[in-house]
Symmetry: C2
Subunit: 192 residues, 2 copies
Amino acid sequence: MKLLEDRIRKDGIVKEGNVLKVDSFINHQMDVNLFDEMGKEWKRLFADRPINKILTIEASGIGIACVAARSFNVPVVFAKKAQSINIDGDVYACKIESFTKKRIYDVIVSKKFLSKDDHVLIIDDFLANGCAVLGLLDIIKEAGATVEGVGIAVEKGFQRGGKLIRDMGIRVESLAIVESMDATTGEIVFRK
Amino acid sequence: MKLLEDRIRKDGIVKEGNVLKVDSFINHQMDVNLFDEMGKEWKRLFADRPINKILTIEASGIGIACVAARSFNVPVVFAKKAQSINIDGDVYACKIESFTKKRIYDVIVSKKFLSKDDHVLIIDDFLANGCAVLGLLDIIKEAGATVEGVGIAVEKGFQRGGKLIRDMGIRVESLAIVESMDATTGEIVFRK
């Protein structure tokens, strides 16, 4: 998606350690007009799929998923990190390792909000090693629901997550795939 | 806001310990069409204010803030819990106690995304003892920005947060104010 690639080139910052900072428009300050265009693009790409629910994970997936959900006219469920007294015991659970925070989270979704009748689109801001998406796929499988696809804003094409999930036969639509990036020059090359 | 009050009566669940569960449409599964109507209502209520940014806090404020932001046509910034290697050291910080999770968080906002030129609307899902909003007010003050108001989905009118913040001269617009609730009967009384 040219709009997103152009924005990443303009406002993204490449840092050592394969870190791409997009915190001025995606995951700290959020450009909701951009999110709206991303939602329309996913709707176009997944037009043939009978999606009735969007699943994401806190925190930075939530804003994109909620704005995108308006194009699909479906509710969003977000997987929660750790246990809260406001969540019933009756939950699907998995463990997810965070690339940026270098720790492992317990992630839960209430059984009330995901069932075998659901056709789910996963949406998240980043796809790198794929841990978050693999965890959400486990939860969807546990619920007996159908995964219709995965919508990602920025995929790091040089990490294994994208290939891993596509090799499972799951459709992944990343709106920008970074093929390589250089922290010294700041150059970012996108996959064609 | 009648639409929200009706929905809380229909789908909200009152539990012991002053807990009101709205996780089927607000803070776990999210009804984005409802969020859109809430955004339009806040836009109507704050029409006279020169708001150029919405500030919220992860996780459950993000969805509401992002959908509401489309009515204001402004970016959203969400305050982050704890430190991530993806956040620069150059941050505003405060401590916030979570009512539901019974713990204290460090909450940060990058200095890049809040400045003295900003006119900020705070948006969050719940207002109870006011800890989250007071923390965000501290951050806005530290940034030298102007607080234009606070938009809350559900205020627990029998807890002190709302009075505390209104007594500071800050305009608080809660779309539903729960005056009392009864875990035995499930009855919820809203402030007129």
